[in-house]
């Protein structure tokens, strides 16, 4: 007779508590709504506008992280310099503070009468209650994620590939774009997805920096406060679906 493995049995029972706690809320919502309601939510102009605002702002924040974070990540992966470690740690601080605190920090640094904000406003970027405010707040809380992901991606690319490419006549830039970047591609792509999802998920910093224009996360709160729990269900189900798609896409990328 085969012995039951007590430990795995006990641990599975214990573990299923947290599995249940995490998955039950997601399962329940799909029993409380239906595809028609979700479809209707998609026809709601206010929802559509908020979605558009959020996704565009998140995309711009992610794009900024990509444009400036990728070179930074490469330098961090390839060069050693004094206090590099401290610098990397400090750049992760936005992930370790309350999101409302992140909002205060962003507003304080970038509002239109601050020294930086004044310069920004000259090129038309004002953060208070503006689309740009959403972008900057999202960037602050999500860029560290992108930088970590890209950096670890670059670290995994053997430098020898770059050495060979250069002896073959490719300059440093050409080598980066034809060899290094393609080899770190997967990490960059999953970095982009996670960063975008983190930007979309933000509430606290947006409440401080730019409650208007209405982003989707804030619209959920508004609907909930104005019309109660049931009014928020279709939009919640819609956003949950998007979240599930994001997570499964990431899983697919890491599996390949």
């Amino acid at each position: 007779m085969r012995r039951v493995e007590n430990l795995f049995l006990t641990f599975s029972i214990l573990g299923s508590v947290i599995v249940f706690a995490l998955l039950a809320p997601m399962a329940i919502i799909f029993f409380m709504t239906n595809p028609i309601q979700i479809g209707e939510a998609l026809m709601d102009l206010e929802i559509l506008n908020a979605l558009l605002t959020t996704f565009t702002a998140a995309a711009m924040a992610t794009f900024s992280a990509l444009i400036f974070g990728t070179p930074l990540a490469y330098v961090l992966a390839r060069k050693d310099f004094a206090l590099k470690n401290l610098l990397e740690s400090l750049m992760n601080v936005p992930l370790a503070i309350p999101h409302s605190v992140a909002g205060i920090l962003v507003l304080l640094a970038y509002h239109s009468r601050s020294s930086i904000g004044e310069i920004l406003s000259r090129i038309g970027i004002v953060v208070e209650d503006s689309f740009w405010g959403i972008v900057v707040a999202m960037l602050f809380v999500s860029a560290p994620i992108f930088i970590s992901s890209a950096r670890s991606g670059f670290s995994m690319v053997d430098e020898t590939f770059e050495h060979v490419a250069r002896t073959l006549g490719a300059g440093h830039f050409k080598t980066f774009f034809t060899v290094t970047l393609p080899l770190a591609f997967r990490s960059i792509v999953s970095g982009i997805i996670v960063t975008w999802a983190r930007a979309v998920s933000e509430v606290g910093a947006l409440l401080i920096v730019a409650p208007y224009p209405k982003s989707i996360a804030l619209l959920v709160i508004e609907r909930f406060e104005a019309f109660g729990l049931s009014a928020a269900i279709p939009i919640t189900a819609l956003l949950l679906l998007i979240g599930i798609i994001v997570v499964l896409t990431l899983n697919y990328i890491s599996m390949r």
Partner: protein, 355 residues
């Protein structure tokens, strides 16, 4: 005139320290068309030396002259050097043909031209059946060939090979060694080959340098270094291996008659052409008279030197070529062997390594 006869590569007191590795005041000349082997143990700084020549690192001091141009601080892409690192570093995100064509594509050659040249070199190097393959599906030996093609297609001034055989199993190693000899005949490149294996140095090298702890201790033809190692360290590394270069001149079934430059021996091998022959000093028997013996090789010689090689006694015997023989003290006394005595060396055809 001067340009043609000047050395292709000159290192002038090059020093560099990088991580735990060091190069100390290295002076070196590599001649045009030469296959130059740098031999030394792991950690001697051989890879760093290649990387300085390739421009991957810059020296702390000293000069590197390539083809009469000071390239000391030139970036790698402006040196025209072929570099085959130890792990080959084939680009895993490209097909074999795109790996080979990379250097030409980067130079802005048209797609057709690249394809044409890739085809041409692949035929020459016997790898055109691999062109459409993914890099990850190649065996070690195939990777090595592709890496060679990728480096050679740009017609580099010099080819740098970093322990090209060390990652391969013994059989493939021998195969690739022959392969390098073959393609050298076709493409006539100059090369620096770095290794810790003395056999490779003797087999492939026109000249060689022995490197220890970042310093070049001796430069010369392999046979010169075997016969006159400058110090004990070099001698211990080259070893007393009775290693000779020769040529198969006749065959009798499984048996090959090999000319080692005057001395002829028989060995059990199917090889043809130029070969390397090694006979371990423990496997040579000394006879005082010719006897009916199964050993195929009986050479007459004179004992030149008797020395201690604990736990053995080592004899140097001149039998047309310098042979080293290990005996026990016991045998030495029994046979009454002394310097100047005429003896017969016997060794079996099957106890000879041919490669």
């Amino acid at each position: 005139m001067k340009t043609v006869s000047s050395p292709l590569l000159v290192l002038k007191s090059v020093s560099k320290s990088w991580r735990e590795f060091q190069i100390k005041d290295v002076n070196l000349e590599v001649r045009r068309g030469e296959y130059f082997v740098v031999m030394g143990p792991t950690g001697a700084g051989k890879t760093l030396l290649l990387q300085l020549i390739a421009g991957i690192h810059y020296p702390d001091s000293g000069k590197i002259i390539l083809d009469d141009v000071d390239v000391t601080y030139l970036p790698p892409e402006r040196r025209s050097i072929g570099y085959v690192p130890q792990n080959y570093a084939l680009f895993p995100h490209m097909l074999v043909k795109d790996n080979i064509g990379y250097g030409l594509k980067i130079r802005g050659y048209s797609k057709n031209k690249v394809e044409e040249e890739v085809q041409e070199i692949s035929v020459k190097l016997g790898i055109n059946h691999l062109l459409e393959r993914m890099v990850s599906t190649l065996s070690g030996g195939e990777q090595q060939r592709v890496a060679l093609a990728r480096a050679l297609i740009i017609k580099p001034k010099i080819l740098l090979l970093d322990e090209p055989l060390s990652a391969l199993d013994p059989e493939t190693r021998e195969e690739i060694r022959e392969y390098i000899k073959e393609i050298r005949k076709i493409l006539k490149f100059t090369a620096i080959h770095v290794t810790h294996d003395f056999v490779e140095a003797v087999d492939l090298g026109d000249r060689m340098a022995v490197m220890f702890n970042g310093e070049i201790l001796q430069v010369g033809e392999p046979i010169e270094i075997i016969n006159n190692p400058r110090n004990e360290l070099i001698a211990s590394f080259t070893g007393a291996k009775n290693l000779f270069k020769g040529k198969v001149i006749a065959r009798r079934g499984e048996l090959a008659e090999i000319d080692l430059g005057g001395v002829r021996i028989y060995a059990a091998t199917r090889k043809l052409g130029e070969v390397m022959v090694a006979i371990r000093p423990e496997n040579i028997v000394i006879l005082l008279e010719k006897a009916r013996i199964s050993a195929r090789n009986i050479l007459e010689g004179i004992i030149e030197e008797i020395s201690e090689k604990p736990p053995y006694i080592s004899l140097k015997v001149d039998a047309g070529l310098p042979f080293t023989v290990y005996l026990t003290r016991n045998a030495l006394e029994d046979l009454n062997l002394t310097v100047g005595k005429r003896v017969y060396l016997a060794f079996k055809a099957s106890a000879i390594s041919v490669f």
